[in-house]
């Protein structure tokens, strides 16, 4: 269509559109940039600052990071989060892949019935309290299991997995069967390597959800401070503005001075890892989203 000369109104539209999208992009970036700049700012200057910070105030300093560096509560929570993400994602991926595999097998007699059995839970669920009662009855409350296992399988992800397995050419499976491979080998050696992209995206979805989850840990772990994931500590710092546990400095004045600085530093420390990972997998997002949208 390039050979057709653009009309003046089209040119004007394109300019306005570009300007608008640039502004939108700035809106997306500005808050995070503000936070990063604040985290390197001089605490005193930060305390009296109003408005957006587009460059670190005063001489850029790492003092906030140093203060948090020897904070054991924060690192403990960081460790807990890493554990929950690793264990939770593994658990979720195992059930999601085997479930998706079984439901993708045309020869599996209960395929339709089980798909319905799983999908029904998307339509209707027990809700907050009945689920809490089950988790409590299992003895999971105030243990790590409560964060790792409940909410471990998303039906949506399982259906995405199933659909991507269905797209693997059946000739490959038949050839493997002739060579004597069983279902486990077929799943592990053929299906998973062939659906790497989808598997990676689903693992990312699970990992991000676990990393960011606050509500469930806050219900199930309340009172057990040494099991707290990062988000619960963050909630205290950001929403309740209490940093007493965060900074173990003997100098009370310095702590009160650094209160605002600490806020920004923890946001950076807790958010940056995720923000650095997703751009590398984003080209697969479309695939994941679209497959999930195919009628179940």
């Amino acid at each position: 269509m390039e050979y057709i000369k653009k009309s003046p109104s089209r040119v004007i539209f394109e300019i306005i559109n570009t300007i608008f999208l640039v502004l939108v992009t700035i809106c997306f970036l500005l808050p995070m940039w503000h936070v990063i700049c604040c985290s390197f700012s001089d605490p005193q200057k930060l305390n009296i600052n109003f408005g957006a910070v587009l460059w670190p105030l005063g001489t850029p300093t790492l003092s906030g990071y140093e203060m948090l560096g020897n904070n054991t509560a924060l690192w403990k929570a960081y460790g807990n989060t890493l554990l929950y993400v690793a264990a939770g994602t593994s658990f979720s991926m195992i059930l999601t892949t085997i479930g998706g595999y079984c439901l993708s097998r045309k020869c599996f007699g209960l395929r339709k019935a089980l798909t319905l059995f799983l999908s029904f839970t998307m339509l209707f669920d027990g809700g907050l309290i009945p689920t809490y009662m089950v988790v409590k009855a299992l003895g999971f409350v105030q243990t790590r299991w409560a964060v790792i296992i409940p909410g471990g399988v998303s039906v949506m992800n399982l259906i995405i997995m199933r659909t991507s397995f269905e797209q693997v050419p059946s000739a490959l499976e038949e050839a493997a069967r002739i060579d004597g491979a069983n279902d486990f080998q077929i799943l592990w050696r053929i299906f998973l390597p062939l659906t790497k992209a989808t598997t990676a995206v689903i693992a990312l979805f699970y990992a991000v959800a676990k990393w960011n989850s606050w509500f469930h840990p806050s219900i199930y772990l309340s009172g057990k401070r040494d099991l707290y994931p990062l988000q619960l500590i963050l909630k205290e710092v950001l929403i309740n503005s209490s940093i007493t546990d965060m900074v173990s400095s003997s100098d009370d004045f310095m702590v009160s001075q650094a209160k605002i600085l600490i806020k920004y530093v923890v946001i950076v420390v807790a958010t940056l890892p995720i923000l650095c990972i997703y751009p590398f997998v984003q080209k697969y997002f479309t695939k994941g989203v679209m497959i999930g949208a195919v009628k179940g």
Partner: protein, 310 residues
């Protein structure tokens, strides 16, 4: 549910099927057990909604009170407030947040420079990956009396005050920040749908003398209508479920009047006050309306536009 009935009918076949697909059945066991424990048992646990539940007496020992919990809710002081707030916030989301990714995708689709498009897309996904705690922390910070959004509004001639603590602005902040968080990621599905629209249709429309706006109206929108309808039906299915996490983190007693919704009320009653029966009853009311709306929207859509989810 349905499958147990089917089991009985096809028992003969089932045994043969198990023999044929031993490993598949073995694989499926943990998945089925998981769904029974964490989804179907809680569904059965809904019976506490009809009980005056005491943890010590248990589900079977507590007194059966039929619809007393529901009655208490509807006669209580909070039912009006939380139902009204839920509906207002949900309508705001449907009117503003739902179309935002569609418009964003349409504008992005007009960009011819692939690199620029890619950068805008990547950046727009970012808010989706920020946790709700950090997100609400940022909103609270930016809208506090010394935050940079407040500062911007002062620059435009407003008064300096805590915006987030002001009941008049709470819903506006909630809606706008929600758009910020979801517009980019939500546009992925529409971008994919847009790339699937047949290019020849545009050329045909151009030959018929349609300008760009008419092309958008007559070719592009019908091309992605299916996706829009599908997501709209899904959205209606959670009409009464507005983001409780975000609200729990953002609201304060000064804004309860406009921010307290059904799900936050369920949380306060159930988890904080440990009134299990009552809280479950309120939640059940919520779920039933949601499911009814999902089915209703689906039905209407099937009649009117021949598009449906199931």
């Amino acid at each position: 549910m349905k499958h147990t009935k089917k089991n009985a009918v096809e028992k003969f076949n089932l045994i043969r099927d198990i023999k044929k697909n031993k490993l598949l059945y073995l694989f499926m066991i943990p998945v089925i057990v998981y769904f029974i424990i964490f989804h179907y048992v809680p569904m059965a646990g809904i019976v506490v909604a009809f009980e005056k539940y005491f943890p010590r007496k248990g589900i079977f020992g507590s007194q059966w009170v039929w619809f007393k919990n529901f009655e208490n809710f509807f006669k209580g002081a909070y039912a009006g407030r939380v139902i009204k707030n839920t509906i207002i916030i949900s309508v705001l989301e449907i009117v503003f947040s739902f179309p935002a990714p569609i418009i964003f995708a349409l504008l992005l689709n007009e960009v011819k420079n692939a690199k620029f498009k890619k950068v805008v897309q990547t950046v727009s996904y970012m808010p989706h990956f920020i946790s709700s705690v950090v997100f609400c922390g940022l909103v609270a910070d930016f809208c506090s009396s010394r935050g940079f959004i407040t500062d911007f509004i002062v620059m435009l001639g407003g008064t300096r005050q805590s915006l987030i603590g002001n009941a008049d602005y709470f819903r506006t902040i909630y809606t706008i920040s929600g758009i910020w968080q979801t517009v980019g990621y939500g546009s992925i599905i529409y971008m994919a749908a847009l790339s699937g629209v047949d290019k020849e249709l545009y050329e045909a429309a151009m030959l018929d003398g349609a300008n760009r706006l008419q092309q958008t109206w007559h070719v592009t929108l019908p091309g992605i209508a299916n996706t829009i309808v599908m997501l709209f039906i899904l959205r209606m299915g959670s009409f009464l479920t507005v983001g409780s996490e975000k609200l729990l983190l953002l609201y304060a007693p000064s804004t309860y009047e406009v921010a307290d919704v059904i799900s936050t009320y369920v949380y306060r009653k159930g988890i904080l006050d440990a009134d299990f029966g009552y809280s479950t009853a309120v939640n059940l009311f919520n779920s039933v309306i949601n499911t009814a709306l999902l089915i209703l929207t689906n039905k209407i859509s099937r009649k009117v536009s021949d598009m449906s989810l199931f």
